[in-house]
């Protein structure tokens, strides 16, 4: 698994940056509430990082900072070696840097057509900003067939999201991430509210990220889903990183015990 598989990572002066995302001592406050208390976190080339922790541990806050939804207050963040100024960082900028996010299913607009959900924020338009509807629908059809595994029945690009099943909705979100060919895909509790069969599909997708040479951050509190697909694990508790483990050093049972002990109220 060489660190040279992305020409994009060779930045100014021929310096090779081996970290896709590097965060140092990141702090985040919501008003007076301290959500992140000095986090160090990184994602390397072609690796899958499982982030574990209970509700309120700061997992979602962490990823919202990487995806540009929230700005951090203290600390440093580098993406592909580029130092991020939190005031000028945004979802748009994250997209440009090749970061895609698959949120829990609420990240789709229920009353809107599938094709609009795929291209929202990155519409194909003419110079005046009018959407090239036909082109977007054709692309959507392709994405549905090739990337989402929709096989001709029921759904089409014009279908409203509210007519889809939970698994199909997650398929749309994943298909969108694949279509825009992200270098880093972040999945936030992607298996919540899915059937077992649909969970399998999501796990297969995560494995395919790895085989395509890309990276992934997988957030969940379901360890048995995270364990088989991840290369390493980061445990979070109340705004802090409380444990880091490589998969080859720890079994699922050990990891389970570890998590219980590190998150125990002291």
């Amino acid at each position: 698994m060489g660190g040279l598989s992305w020409p994009l990572l060779v930045l100014g002066g021929g310096k090779i940056v081996d970290k896709l995302v590097e965060m140092k001592n990141i702090h985040k406050y919501y008003g007076r509430l301290k959500a992140l208390k000095g986090i160090d976190f990184s994602v390397g080339d072609n690796e899958i990082v499982g982030v574990l922790g209970d509700n309120g541990a700061g997992k979602s806050t962490l990823i919202k900072i990487i995806t540009g939804l929230h700005a951090f207050r203290e600390g440093e963040m580098y993406i592909k070696g580029e130092k991020i100024n939190p005031r000028h960082y945004s979802v748009k900028k994250a997209h440009q840097l090749g970061i895609e996010t698959v949120y829990q299913e609420q990240a789709l607009a229920e009353k809107q057509a599938l094709w609009r959900n795929i291209f929202l924020g990155r519409q194909k338009t003419n110079a005046l900003g009018f959407i090239k509807v036909k082109e977007e629908k054709e692309e959507t059809e392709k994405v549905m067939r090739e990337l989402m595994g929709f096989t001709g029945i029921g759904a089409n690009p014009d279908s409203n999201i509210k007519t889809l099943s939970g698994g199909e909705k997650q398929g749309v979100a994943i298909g969108r991430a694949m279509y825009f060919d992200a270098d880093l895909v972040i999945l936030d509790e992607p298996t919540m509210a899915l059937s077992l069969q649909e969970v399998d599909k999501v796990l297969n997708f995560i494995e395919s990220i790895k085989t395509r040479g890309k990276s992934c951050v997988y957030i969940s509190h379901n360890i048995s889903n995270v364990y088989p697909v991840s290369d390493r694990f980061v445990a979070m508790d109340r705004g802090k990183v409380v444990g880091r483990y490589n998969k080859d050093e720890i079994s699922l049972d050990q990891l389970n015990e570890e998590l219980i002990s590190v998150t125990k109220v002291k």
Partner: protein, 319 residues
């Protein structure tokens, strides 16, 4: 089999519009039966074409606001203030063009204030725009000292463009059609409109995809303000005067127009065709009731009935 499938799909897509058109035809037939002399002659329709667009243009703006899951109740006052600025600027400068520009800027500026209060301070739109409605109405009263302004521009090109005729069709109606098509294109074919619909549907999801939701809202409120100002321009040209109570009585008619048209309060969806038909339906009601020989007391009752029936049908059909 195929054509049946297509038919059911077409029905699914246009059922709201089909229901509305059916209601409109029903009401029209009722008018023709009760007062054939009035409703079988073209004059009444000509008069609708020149009176309906004032409410109609504002209803288009309101459709955009409702599609975004917001509300604006300040537009009749905005119409008055912008109309005042139009008349005053014309009187001071002698330029109709300058007057119209100042008028549209005034409307959009008030819209921007609404948008800023909603997005940056976080006050619900209904509260902001009720407050703004009083403030703006008060401001135009204070500035005009309660007296009307004469606005006789003569029969120049501007008058003909905004209050004249084209092939016998009143200019106001042509503007209404043009603006309806423009707004349809913006809402359903432009990326700004897509942002409006997504914001009304799921604000958090829209933010997660990198859309500047606040900016979208502010621009939509500015368009609403601009639409109110444009209605003011049309009304000032038509009446050749500006008067301080301008726009009063338009609030409920405009809101009713949009709801009867089939746009819901919940955001994320809208129908411009519905608003267009709704404007004529609401706008023709009073004339129809009076022509049928009923006293004016009946007007409100029938308005209310129509609104409740139409909204019930829309809701039941979209279940």
């Amino acid at each position: 089999m195929d054509s049946k499938l297509l038919n059911s799909k077409t029905w699914e897509k246009y059922k709201t519009q089909i229901a509305l058109i059916s209601i409109a035809i029903f009401v029209l037939l009722l008018f023709i039966i009760t007062s054939p002399a009035v409703f079988l002659s073209p004059q009444i329709y000509r008069s609708f074409l020149s009176t309906v667009p004032f409410v109609g243009v504002m209803a288009l703006g309101l459709t955009l606001i409702l599609a975004m899951g917001q509300i604006d109740l300040s537009f009749p006052a905005v119409m008055a203030l912008s109309g005042f600025v139009f008349a005053l600027t014309y009187q001071l400068s002698g330029s109709v063009f300058l007057g119209m520009l100042a008028c549209l800027l005034t409307g959009s500026f008030v819209g921007m204030l609404n948008g800023l209060l909603v997005t940056k301070i976080g006050i619900p739109a209904i509260v902001v725009t009720i407050g703004m409605q009083f403030f703006i109405r008060g401001l135009s009263n204070v500035l005009s000292q309660g007296s009307a302004l004469n606005m006789n521009v003569g029969d120049n090109i501007f008058y003909r463009l905004f209050a004249g005729d084209l092939f016998g069709i009143p200019a106001q109606a042509i503007w209404f059609v043009f603006l309806s098509i423009l707004l349809w294109a913006i809402l359903f074919r432009h990326k700004f409109g897509e942002h409006v619909l997504f914001t009304g549907d799921n604000e958090d999801a829209t933010r997660m995809m990198g859309i500047n939701v606040d900016k979208t809202k502010i621009i939509a409120f500015m368009i609403m303000g601009g639409a109110a100002a444009f209605a003011g321009i049309l009304d000032v040209f038509r009446m050749r005067t500006w008067w301080p109570t301008m726009g009063e009585g338009y609030l409920m008619m405009t809101v009713a127009t949009v709801f009867v048209g089939g746009t819901s309060m919940f955001g994320g969806e809208a129908t411009i065709l519905g608003t267009f038909i709704g404007a004529f339906l609401i706008g023709s009601l009073e004339a129809g009731i009076v022509a049928a020989g009923l006293s004016g007391f009946w007007t409100r009752l029938i308005y209310g009935l129509l609104i409740l029936v139409a909204v019930t049908i829309h809701t039941v059909m979209n279940r």
